[in-house]
Amino acid sequence: MKNKLSLIILFIFLIFCFIIFYKGLNNSNIYTPKTSGEKNIPIFKAKDFNSNILIDSEKIFKKNDYYIVNIWASWCVPCRNEHPLLMELSKIKSVKLIGLNYKDNSNNAKNFISELGNPYSQILIDKDGILAVEFGAYGVPETFIIGKNKKIIKKFLGPINQKIFDEIKLIIK
């Protein structure tokens, strides 16, 4: 009797496996990570680029303001290309640019800024690239628009071009 019961259970289990595999066959196995709609900005502490003092993220991002977080590095060539457009963006009063200096050498970064100008109201150091990951970045450069509700409302992979520039302007208007 006991033997029969275990046989039945085994049988049902196998049928279950069969159904799962059968269904699984028709599912696509290509995995695309969800692009998060509106994600909260991470809470973190980071060193300031100029003063080297630890700053709380709560103190950087305030409600009812637009922010643009731009991830950059002196070794990243596309960053160099997008820089003039960032300078343009910095002229807009209603938005603040926050730079995230990604896996960089501080001397090189300083040279980069002094050579091309500083569009950022504040630069944070992300020496080991952890902050960038917390923001959900894939690489450099990347730009995040943070809305008045302190949420990431839009992200752009790769360097900013004229088209993206216009789009950003439209968002923060």
């Binding site: 033997n3 196998l14 059968y22 269904k23 066959l25 196995n29 995995y31 070794w75 060539v77 596309p78």
Partner: protein
């Protein structure tokens, strides 16, 4: 053209012979003759030949770059070196299934020749079960994956072989792996036959042991070759990724290893007989299951050639037919042999083998769950996850400590009731291992109790088996070598993972990068042209803290067909460590991103795997 036709019709003839073999052998089954009808043997040979002809004609199509054949068109190119044209034959879905068939038919033929002293009915039944599998695969090849599809108009050029598959280790990896993987089919068929004939006995154990050992040895070497390929070709610096496809080859390996140990008990006495049968069935079922997971495209991996649900459904249905068939037979025919169970003593070798089996089953369930759980979750909740190395490491590594200790002590317990003799020598070895571990860990500044226990256990096994090899007149050499190899394997992996170091940086040509007294100098790049790719070779000079200079030349290859850029690591291997350098282009920049790794005792991982497969090999030829 012609080869194409011959190959196709040979396959059909092979299938027809299958039915003929079944017919003749069923007729022969109740015949009073003592030996199997000679015709059965001839027909099996004929079937094997048809498959060989079919396989050879596919190879010829590949060598001649006959693009009227769809498989050749999809997977080859005229500029490819001859060696990779040939290996391309089994580097794709259709060809690899033909290889499956080849191994299936080869093994049943060898089985018929080698089993002349076995009971006739048992031999015929084994043949019949094997033919069921063979017919299933013939139908699968002909209906869903015909390697001889004809293309018209004939294309001028093929699409090429994926460059990461153009590697010597990978060229021989599939045939060797298949000899082990598909070889388990014989164990499956013969165990079913033995159950129906109530022949699960000492004699059967002795006879099937050779087949288990052959499969196990080939499977071990096959998995190792795949791992070597991953290490050299994928440029990641690791050798095992817990990729689903690696897992599906590991799962039958685990059950086969358990079976290998169980058979030894069956060989000496008939305890554990149902366990042996269950393991035989499970091993082949897992091989089939692996084929299903890989070939259906249900999992995403480097081995998934085609994502074609019809193929998946075919193997799935076939797989479950085999599972139900074997379970039905097991429950209907199997009679538990209770005679010897009472003499089981807790300190016997049988117990230690049972313990080995529990561990194997535990490792198996970890790997199995890690592999199929994402599929279940996806279907049941539409959530996609992937299970990574930390899962396996956390669940497997802690259990290695008792496993290693049992491995060292188990074979020492005499056959049934044994007193623990020579307790002093055991204790001495144990103390030596612990002290040695403490000294080593102190020197490399690692102070984790967990590592201490694990490494001590591995050293303990190491010394115990070393003693068996050299000191004692120990007559079980194969076992001592295999266990010694395993201790070496664990030690190599442990020290490799503890002592590895890595430098990642961006560097320009002519630049030097300095880090703790060592220096990496990027001298120059040189362009090189080969028939199937162009490459940029980087010249690096690395000076370590002792002033020793190593020259490393990693490559960036641009393959022409299909156009794929691959990054070839340069690896300098020595007995102590591997120096591993890989470079990548930073997009649109003069900088190169380089990754330099020092991986200690890398070569010992391969050597130790070879050692334990060598243990298996000796056992095959031992009387």
């Amino acid at each position: 053209m012609l080869a194409n036709q011959i190959g196709y019709y040979s396959l059909i003839l092979g299938l027809l012979v299958s039915f003929l073999v079944c017919g003749v052998s069923i007729k022969d089954f109740n015949n009073k003759n003592k030996s199997v009808n000679q015709n059965v043997l001839i027909l099996s040979l004929l079937q094997l030949n048809f498959v060989i002809v079919s396989f050879l004609s596919l190879i010829i199509s590949f060598v001649n770059s006959d693009f009227s054949n769809e498989t050749v068109f999809n997977n080859s190119h005229t500029t490819k070196p001859l060696f990779y044209k040939i290996s391309g034959t089994w580097g794709n879905h259709e060809g690899s299934l033909l290889l499956w068939l080849l191994v299936l038919t080869l093994f049943i033929f060898l089985f018929l020749i080698k089993s002349k002293n076995q009971p006739k009915k048992y031999r015929i039944l084994t043949l019949l079960f094997q033919q069921i599998i063979i017919i299933g695969f013939f139908l699968f090849v002909l209906m869903t994956s015909n390697p001889f599809n004809y293309l018209f108009p004939v294309p001028n050029e093929g699409l090429g072989l994926n460059p990461i598959l153009q590697d010597p280790a990978l060229a021989i990896h599939p045939p060797i792996l298949y000899l082990g993987y598909v070889g388990t089919s014989i164990i499956f068929s013969s165990s079913l036959a033995a159950v129906t004939q109530n022949y699960v006995s000492k004699d059967w154990g002795q006879h099937i042991k050779k087949w288990v050992l052959v499969s196990w040895t080939f499977l071990t070497v096959g998995i190792m070759l795949g791992s070597i390929w991953a290490y050299y070709e994928l440029g990641w610096g690791g050798f095992w990724f817990w990729d689903p496809v690696e897992n599906v080859s590991l799962m039958p390996w685990l059950t086969l290893t358990a079976l290998l140990h169980c058979i030894i008990v069956l060989d000496k006495r008939t305890a554990l007989s149902s366990w042996v049968v269950i393991l035989s069935i499970t091993t082949f079922t897992l091989s089939m299951c692996g084929t299903f997971l890989v070939r259906s495209g249900i999992l995403n991996s480097v081995h998934t050639f085609a994502n074609d649900p019809t193929r998946g459904i075919f193997i799935l249905v076939f797989l479950f037919i085999l599972i139900f068939l074997s379970l039905g037979i097991f429950f209907l025919f199997h009679k538990e042999n209770n005679k010897n169970l009472n003499s089981f003593f807790w300190l016997s070798r049988e117990t230690s083998i049972l313990v080995n089996n529990w561990f194997m089953m535990y490792f198996l369930s970890v790997v199995l769950i890690g592999t199929v759980y994402p599929i279940f979750l996806d279907v049941l909740s539409a959530e996609k996850i992937s299970v990574g190395p930390p899962f396996y490491q956390k669940l497997i590594v802690p259990f290695l400590v008792p496993f290693l200790l049992f491995m060292a002590l188990g074979p020492k317990l005499k056959w049934i009731k044994s007193k623990i003799e020579k307790k002093i020598s055991l204790l001495v070895f144990f103390i030596i291992s612990v002290v040695l571990t403490l000294i080593i860990l102190k020197n490399i500044n690692i102070n984790l109790p967990f590592y201490t226990t694990l490494i001590s256990a591995a050293f303990f096994l190491f010394f115990m088996t070393l003693k068996d090899l050299f000191v004692q007149k120990y007559n079980n050499n194969s076992q001592a070598i295999a266990h010694f190899g395993f201790s070496l394997f664990i030690l190599a992996i442990l020290f490799n993972s503890i002592l590895s170091s890595e430098i990642i940086t961006n560097i320009k040509i002519g630049e030097k990068y300095k880090y703790n007294k060592s220096e990496i100098f990027f001298e120059k790049i040189v362009e090189k042209k080969e028939s199937n790719y162009n490459s940029i070779v980087g010249y690096f000079k690395i000076t370590d803290e002792n002033g020793k200079i190593t020259l490393l030349n990693p490559e960036l290859r641009v393959y022409n067909q299909p156009i794929i850029i691959t990054s070839e690591a340069d690896i300098k291997t020595s007995l102590l460590d591997d120096k591993f350098l890989v470079m990548n282009l930073v997009k649109g920049d003069e900088y190169f991103n380089i990754r330099y790794q020092i991986k200690p005792f890398m070569i010992w991982i391969w050597i130790s795997v070879l050692l334990f497969s060598f243990g298996g090999l000796i056992s095959i030829f031992k009387k």
